[in-house]
Each structure stands twice: as structure tokens, then as C-alpha cells.
Amino acid sequence: MKPAYDVIVIGGGPAGSMAARYAAGRGASVALFEKDREVGVPVRCAEGVSHAGLAAVVENIPSRWIAQKITGAVLHAPSGAEVPLHTDQIGYILHRKIFDYDLAQMAAAAGVAIFTRAHVTGLIMEQGRTAGVVVDHLGERRRIEARLVIAADGVESRAARWAGLATRTALADMESCAQATIGGYQGDPEMLHFYFSRSMAPGGYLWIFPKGNGMANVGLGISASAGGERSPHDYLEAFLARFFPGASILGRVCGGVPCSNTLKELAADGLMVVGDAAHQANPLTGGGIVTGMIAGRIAGETAAEAVAAGRSDRETLRRYPKAWLAGEGGKQAQFYRLRKFVFSLGDEDYDALARSVLRIPVEKRTILSIMKSALLHKPSLLLDAVKLFT
């Protein structure tokens, strides 16, 4: 570990590895600090991603990343009604551990120095600007200087807050999640399942994502303000007991996804924030792999340019939030309003929606046509739907 780098990235998830890789690729000296023993572990993720999304952020998609190809989805209403969706969109359930390792490898190949068991405990501040980090590495506390820090430290992010950015997640916007990877799964391996019900997952939804070889990620997220006495773990136990009694559980994991509206500030003097730490997951679905990677790439490029220009002030770094909002980030406000709407519905609404969607022929049953049905319930959504789907 050197005493100083141009850029320090905190966190070795997809957003952090992309940021590090693209900063190094443009000539900056970069260190990446991962607090855990290895990158990619534990996997706190349902691991689903669309082909189009993934193809937009990587040069190719090696088969070792893919646990299972996905070709369809079924929505389940509280009444038990099943709504198969027509989709020509291919997706994947990833092996996140392998995926994250490979993204870190790509960063390393671009020249990034990666350190695991490197826990950042504070920022070095100089006249209000971030100028490095304090890191505990293998039992030794060190001060490492940097011209720029990129906080990719996930849902548990503190680094951006230390730099003055308002990245704390409001309770209602935090999807608190529990997931089990089960064995002996007998469902269609190419089909995703989503369950919407206030009694089963208030302020969120349940998912079954097949992982191949008879395995599936079965999990749920609920709004942290909605659970009351019952935790996501409790809701998951009830679901497993009902639909997969006696199933062997090969893995269990908890986690959370900030599902807020897009943050006002993503950069401070000497610091940018990316990924879950920047609330960049889709607030409706909670999917954040691709969005985090997109933001990571922009932030990495911005960092390298800022270093080359010898500037790291907030104004110089504004290229990053501008590019983010001009692309993927620009959709977040609408998805956030859709989130508010979808999760404000009661079980009768979901059932009524399912009945009206089932009247649409399956080959025409797309997300867009479902939204159109939903609009009958709440016409004020029209503007958001038009912006998102046209």
C-alpha cells in the first residue's frame, strides 16, 4: 500500500470496481479498499439482471457469470391469480461471486491496487475537502492520501456522509430484505415469479429467481417503515413454510436496498458517491447492478479527468451527476413515483389489477400494458408512464 494515490475507491462491488477500472484506464493511480475478506462475498443480492442492461456495461458476457437464463415472468396477486407476462427480453440470474471477482480482476488488469480486509474508518479532510482516507488494513491503521475519493461503500455507506452529502436513507425508502437459496426447486428454471401482497410483503414484493441445478433465490423486501412487529426474516419464513415446506436451505442472507428518489448531490469537494451508497438502484424494482455500474464508469472517467486537470472541486466533478441524470439517473424520479403508487395499493387493488391485466391477450401483456391498466386506477400516473415507456 502506497502512502498516496490519485484516486481511492471505497468498496469492491460492481460500482466500485467499475469506477476504479475506468479511472485507472485513463491514467490515474488507483487503490480500491474492500472491507471484507474477499470481493463479491457475501452475496447480498437476488442476482437478476436483464441482458440488455448487462450488455450495455460490459464488452462481453462470459458464460461463467450465468447461473440461469431467464425467458419469462409470472406476477402473483394476493387472491392467488397468476399473471404470466409476455417478454422478449432475455435476462440472467448471475453468479454474483464470480461476476464481482471478474469485475475486480478487470480493474486490477487496468492497474488498480486492490486491498481486501481494508476497512475505511474515516476521511482525511483538508479545508472542507476530502483528501484521503483512514483505513484499517489487517490490524494496522494507516492514513492514505488521495486527490479524490469515490465512495462505493454500499447500503452501509458512511463515507459520503462524512463528506457532507445527504446519503442517509429514510425508513420508508429502505427496502429491508431477507433471502434464502433453496435446493430442490421444481419450478420452470427460466421463469421468474413475483408476489405482490400487503400481507406477504408490505411495501415491497416477494421473488423467486431460479439459479439452475434445482436451486432458487427466494426472498422478499419490505419497506422498513411497514413491517411493524414482523421482520423480513419472519415474512420469509412464513412464505417458505407455505410454498416450500421442508425445502433444504443452502444459504441465507439479509440486506437492504435504498429505494429513494435520486439524490440531489452526488459529489462534494474531493469525493463522489456511486452505487447503492448513492441510492442508484431502481426505486421500483430494487435492481441496482447495472445502474451502479453505469454510474461507476462515469465517476471513474470523471475522476481521471479531474486528476489530469489537477482539480477535484465539486464544480469539476459535476460532469458525473450531469451525465448520470442525462442517462439512467434521469428515470429515477419517475420510478420513485411508481414505487409510491405500486406499494400504496391494497390487496383488493392488486387483485383488481390482475383481473384487468388477464383480459389482455398474453402476447400483448407487457409492462407497458400493465401500466395502462394501472392508469385506470390512478390517471395521474399517466405522465410518468409516458416518460418511462415511450
Binding site: K35, R44, H119, S176, A224, C254
Partner: protein, 64 residues
């Protein structure tokens, strides 16, 4: 450790959701260790509500 919060290490998955919602930046997550800063903690209970597995509770026995 802390007096203001009770933390059940055996239930905790060290996922960091509590850190993300804490309004007071009072929780530090290491790889498999959670540290609540009693100086900062106000016992607001938001971490308790957000925890996916009920690993945290407000310690009612500790003096305010």
C-alpha cells in the same frame, strides 16, 4: 460495545441496513462486528425497525 442498544451477534447478518438508516451516523459495521456509538445514539429505534432479522433492540434497562 454499547449500552443504549442491545445487539444480538448470533442473529445479526452484518448486512448494514441499520447503518444506512441511522440518522445520527452512530453505527459502524465491520466485516462481522457492529459497533454502536453511545455518544451519538439517541435510541430513536429506526435501526430496530429496519433490521431484516430483529438483531437490534433498544436497551430499556440502560439509564438515559
Amino acid at each position: 460495545m454499547t449500552n443504549k442498544m442491545k445487539h444480538n451477534q448470533d442473529r445479526c447478518d452484518f448486512c448494514g441496513v441499520c447503518v444506512g438508516v441511522c440518522p445520527h451516523d452512530a453505527i459502524e459495521l465491520r466485516e462481522a462486528e457492529l459497533i454502536v456509538d453511545d455518544e451519538r445514539c439517541t435510541r430513536c429505534g429506526q435501526c430496530v425497525q429496519a433490521c431484516p432479522i430483529h438483531a437490534l433492540e433498544v436497551n430499556d434497562e440502560a439509564g438515559v
